[in-house]
């Protein structure tokens, strides 16, 4: 089976490189985007198997990108993992939902990231 294709989105080139390295190590194919608008466009054009989405993004923040995709019949099936700092997770507790499949809090550890990716991919297939 072809390896899953993952869209990784982060505005920091440094962090994007590191996430990319982890995913490549996990045997995944990786495409990237650096802001919310680019993420949306790439997601729509490329139909990735999963999206790793940072919350703090220029142009459109991660929450909005997530909601826009989850709102759309065509894309709502793509699993989305949001990468957040602690306070953002607290913000989630206000009861407003983005429809993301999972939240990973920073600092991100490679094993945890790969674990979450594998889990969501499996769920999406099953």
């Amino acid at each position: 089976m072809a390896s899953a294709r993952i869209l990784a989105v982060d505005d920091s080139p440094t962090i994007l490189e590191m996430i990319k390295a982890i995913l490549l190590q996990g045997g995944y194919e990786v495409i990237t985007a650096m802001d919310g608008a680019e993420a949306l466009e790439t997601a729509r054009a490329e139909m990735p198997d999963l999206i790793l989405l940072d919350v703090m993004l220029p142009k459109l923040d991660g929450y909005r990108v997530c909601r826009l995709l989850k709102f759309d019949q065509k894309y709502k099936g793509i699993p989305i993992i949001m990468l957040t700092a602690k306070t953002e997770e607290q913000a989630m507790a206000t009861g407003i939902r983005t429809g993301a499949n999972q939240y990973l809090t920073k600092p991100i550890e490679p094993e945890r990231l790969l674990g979450a990716v594998a889990e969501e991919l499996q769920k999406a297939q099953g």
Partner: protein
């Protein structure tokens, strides 16, 4: 002169048409095309006959002096066509996307959600908005919901307030909505009290400026659908401008699905939500602190003015209340004391790590009020702005920081990152070189240089930089640069370098 109307000429001459058209246009913004001449004629004759005028010119005299008669005529002229949940995708977008987005950005203390339906006709639109808000679950979170409907047609407003509709008005709405939000009465289907109590109606002419204060501000969403279609372009521009000013930052304007803001306003940001185009008022852009200080410098030639200004600015009550934890703020003046600055910077860094840009900027402002040449907080501001995508302001703050402290490796590194994100690799490389010149073991500068070289296809240079990064990393596994790792562990950076190095060597 007064007769039973039988002698009223039933013709509307082109001159008369123009006269009425221009008057209506001037006073309501509605511009009637030639093709509407006949329907205008019928409306005019209906009204003129009622007063027994022998000539339409006589009716014009009344019309131009009597505002209530003008409103009567407008009731006939405007077309009040509307329906519940007209273009349902917009209401779906409101419930599922707009409401959560706006609420999330609102400060904890501001628990209200306000919708204005401008040109609400007989009320279907504001009631639909009310039902949508009720279904969004906001009330459960303690939000106060308000919907306001305005129109120029007093007839339409009467019917809107009555809120009783014939069966055919409910034909196209989901059964569950019909059963939950309407109750049958002998007169028709009455909007249930729970949906009704959010809604208020008022007469308002969108063309008449200035708008009453109550309308000018604090709206989260404005509907103005299928209203401006008869307006002249210039009037529409003014109306849309007023909407822009009345919306909260981040608020949305809903227009008819066949309408567009192209060539009307470029102040809004078009957003596509599941096939629906909506218009968002952008969140405010920041002015750089560097620029504010420049301005203050200018003012300081009038020393007194500067002092009061600063005191007023920092001394505001809300500023005192919002002071970050750890800051000691003088009760009387609200000004932070110089000795607290290190503590403030620690909390700013923590806020920055946790992505709380707003808090960072607040602390920066507090520090600069006491110490306007603190290079470190300028750098923190730069980093925060870059984080929220405002690269231009970030650049200004960062340059300011470098002017104040030219030997800061971190400041050159941040400048490099900003250039990198602005797609200026050469400038970025130069700043990373400067960073390394100031701190040879600034691992991330080596790492980002390597990435830029690799992207340019300069494999040998890339390999060298990855090697340098690894060497520095082993030498000094922790340094000023670790802070910029965004919560990732340095060993992950080592793995990334090793992996990239292997790849580059393969291809080189």
């Amino acid at each position: 002169m007064v007769n039973d109307g039988s002698s009223l000429s039933k013709d509307l001459t082109p001159e008369q048409f123009k006269r009425f058209r221009d008057y209506i246009h001037q006073h309501s913004g509605i511009y009637l095309e030639e093709s509407k001449s006949d329907s205008l004629r019928i409306s005019l004759i209906t009204r003129a006959t009622r007063f027994g005028f022998a000539a339409l010119d006589d009716y014009f005299k009344l019309l131009s002096t009597d505002e209530s008669e003008f409103n009567e005529l407008m009731n006939l002229v405007t077309i009040n066509e509307t329906s519940f949940f007209r273009f349902p995708a917009q209401f779906e977008a409101l419930r599922q996307f707009i409401v959560p987005e706006i609420v999330e950005a609102k400060p904890e203390t501001q628990r209200s959600f306000r919708v204005w339906s401008a040109g609400c006709s007989t009320g279907e639109e504001p009631y639909s908005a009310s039902m949508t808000l009720l279904d969004s679950g906001l009330e459960g979170l303690g939000y106060k919901l308000e919907v306001f409907g305005t129109d120029v047609s007093t007839n339409a407003l009467e019917r809107a307030k009555a809120g009783v509709y014939p069966s055919r008005a409910l034909l196209n709405i989901p059964h569950s909505v019909a059963t939950r939000f309407f109750e049958p009465t002998p007169e028709g289907h009455r909007v249930a009290d729970r949906a009704r109590r959010l809604v208020d109606f008022q007469f308002h002419n969108l063309i008449k400026e200035p708008y009453p204060l109550g309308l000018m501000g604090n709206w989260d969403v404005i509907f103005c659908r299928n209203v401006t279609i008869y307006f002249k372009l210039e009037s529409t521009r003014r109306v849309v401008d007023n909407f822009f000013n009345s919306l909260n930052p981040g608020g949305y304007l809903f227009i008819g699905h066949s309408e567009t803001l192209t060539s009307i306003s470029d102040r809004f940001e078009p957003v596509e939500v599941g096939g629906v185009f909506l218009y968002r008022k952008p969140q405010q852009r920041h002015t750089s602190f560097a620029r504010v200080v420049e301005q203050r410098r200018g003012e300081s030639r009038r020393p007194l003015a500067k002092q009061t200004d600063a005191a007023v600015r920092v001394g505001r009550r809300d500023r005192v209340r919002s002071a970050p934890p750890g800051a000691i703020v003088d009760e009387r003046t609200g000004v932070a004391e110089k000795a607290d600055i290190p503590g403030l910077i620690v909390s700013a860094r923590k806020a920055s790590e946790e992505g709380r840009s707003k808090d960072v900027l607040k602390i920066v402002e507090d520090v600069l009020a006491v110490d306007p040449s603190n290079a470190e907080v300028y750098l923190l501001a730069a980093y925060s702005h870059a984080d929220s995508g405002d690269l231009q302001t970030a650049l200004e703050e960062c340059k300011r920081s470098i002017v104040l402290d030219p030997l800061s490796a971190a400041a050159h590194y941040v400048l490099g990152i900003i250039y990198q994100r602005q797609s200026e690799p050469e400038r970025a490389l130069q700043e990373f070189r400067r960073t390394i010149y100031l701190d040879a073991d600034f691992v991330l500068a080596h790492f980002n240089m390597a990435n830029i070289h690799r992207a340019k296809g300069v494999k040998l240079e890339a390999c060298r930089s990855y090697e340098n990064a690894l060497r520095s990393l082993y030498r000094t596994p922790e340094g000023e640069w670790t802070w910029f790792l965004g919560g990732f562990r340095p060993d992950l950076l080592a793995q990334t370098c090793e992996r990239s190095l292997l790849e580059c060597r393969k291809k080189a």
